[in-house]
Symmetry: C2
Subunit: 330 residues, 2 copies
């Protein structure tokens, strides 16, 4: 906390600080000292930015209302660190607005990119289990009555694959399902009676996510009803919530940028099919997750690659904007 004591913070800032299982291949003097681990998502930059903000707020005139600064672990993990942080905070310490940012090598250095509303998708787990009969099966005529769980699983996979494809002609999809694991049967010469599918569903809102669950449930029930098999669909909601930026917070960031003469753009044009556990912060509070450009001269390595690096000076734009927001709370 920075600012006067005894009152609820008016604003919260969050930086994520976990590393990734990637071996760093930069020659930077500040390169990771731990082989096989690096801050390739820019999380060291996020934490450094938040630390610089703390110094700025402490050094400057006392804030009218306190600001909460959250250094959060395990953004990349499952379960993520965000719910642990938020559950750990007593209600009177929860600010009404949360600000997050992410370094972004596709934007010019120092440029702030932000969009109102849906930004990142939620992530939910989907498990579908098909259980056919256990009839022993030899070949073509024997075991005609055996129910092939793989064939039914395949039918479900086909139905689900067509469900969300081609619904939007643009780059992004409001809902997407990826089956990451598909498994059926034991032996090459036995009809597989069991089939297990596990995947992730991504959606831009809780409502769209729940509608997708319902569609999957209906598909499972329809196929179960037409076949002599049990089809069970189950869901793990809230692995990551959707990230939706509040229009009011977006306006405040834009105004601060205008005031400070920082290049601020609507970016990205469409929501992006990735996730960030910052969604947990926006689930109860207002707020915004924005992008801070860090493109280098001559091309930038992507996030999550061994050569990711950036010029620290871009962080000053974050510090300037964040300090402006803290000094002029909602």
């Amino acid at each position: 906390m920075v600012g006067p004591r005894g009152t609820q913070p008016a604003i919260g800032f969050r930086a994520d600080l976990d590393a990734l299982p990637i071996t760093e291949e930069t020659d930077a003097e500040y390169a990771s000292l731990n082989p096989g681990l690096m801050h390739a998502c820019g999380h060291d930059g996020h934490a450094a930015g938040l630390l610089a903000l703390a110094r700025r707020l402490v050094a400057g005139p006392t804030l009218s209302e306190p600001a909460l600064l959250v250094f959060q672990q395990a953004e990349e993990g499952h379960p993520s660190g965000a719910p642990r942080v938020l559950r750990g905070l007593p209600g009177y310490l929860l600010p009404p607005e949360f600000i997050g940012f992410h370094l972004w090598p596709e934007l010019p250095a120092g440029v702030i990119g932000l969009r109102s509303g849906a930004l990142f998708t939620s992530v939910a787990g989907v498990t579908i289990h098909v259980s056919g009969s256990t009839g022993r099966v030899h070949g073509t005529t024997f075991g005609k009555d055996a129910v092939d769980g793989l064939a039914i699983g395949h039918e479900i996979y086909t139905a689900l694959s067509s469900m969300w494809s081609g619904r939007h002609p643009t780059d992004y999809q409001p809902v997407s399902l990826n089956i990451g694991r598909f498994e059926a049967g034991d032996e090459p010469n036995r009809v597989p009676t069991q089939c297990l599918m596990r995947g992730t569903l991504r959606a831009l809102s809780w409502a769209e996510q729940d509608r997708a669950f319902e569609m999957i449930r209906e598909t499972a029930a329809q196929i179960e009803g037409s076949r002599d098999a049990r089809v069970h669909a189950s869901f793990e909601s809230g692995i990551r919530p959707p990230v939706r930026n509040a229009a009011a917070s977006v306006s405040r960031v834009r105004a601060a940028c205008g005031h400070l003469g920082i290049d601020c753009r609507v970016y990205p044009e469409h929501p992006v099919g990735v996730s960030d556990d910052f969604g947990w912060y926006l689930d109860d509070s207002k707020g915004v997750l924005f992008f801070l450009g860090c493109a280098a001269m001559g091309g930038s390595p992507d996030l999550h690659t061994p050569t990711f690096d950036f010029d620290e000076s871009v962080l000053l734009n974050y510090v300037d904007v964040a300090a402006e927001l803290a000094r002029n709370p909602m």
Copy 2:
């Protein structure tokens, strides 16, 4: 060997004698003494029949030419016992004709059922491996260039599933493919780059089997050519050969039945999509595998079930026919 020494046997008889991992549920005094193991395929009957044949041949007038009696293990296994038996026999002990029989609870007790030509299918192993790119994938827009090995695997599965279905309006299919194991991906939230399918192909002749291999190979190559993935199909031929009865041997069994007044029928009407390692015996020699009815009053339990049982007296018909064939070799 039964009969005069020093000459090549004119005919061979084979009984299979392995048990199955099934717990016997008959109250018979001759029920299995080994819990979890029983002769539910009637193999104890086959062996008893062959033993009775040996007694009959030894007791009767000396044969004009020797007969070879083979008690063979591991008919049910993979690798099966048949190639071991056949490789173990020196060429001068291989008869030009082999006779096998199988108890069959769908035929009336004592009736002999036989058909000329294709009877049982071969069994071959089919393995298809799809290997897509290893691009890291998050969601809907990231990793668009990643190749989903599961999607390609399902495309192949669909193509193969339609390949041999509906080609014949009858009960049996000359070629069938069963995918018994299908596996793709590791984690619910990663696009699966690898997909493995393992199955068995059944065909009524080597030529049909090899044509099916070729069709699978072409499908794999086509799909590989249209996608940025490696698709590899491999085959294990000869797990079981097809069982094809020689017309000459079928005629000889039919003639013997006529002579002995034993009810002999064309059975089954169509080839059956199961396998028997007796195919190995017929691969180099002529011969026949015929059915010996063992239906009981009031319905018969199926082969390979815990209550399978039969009236031993039906074996006498086998002994009569086999002795007739041994006394009148080709």
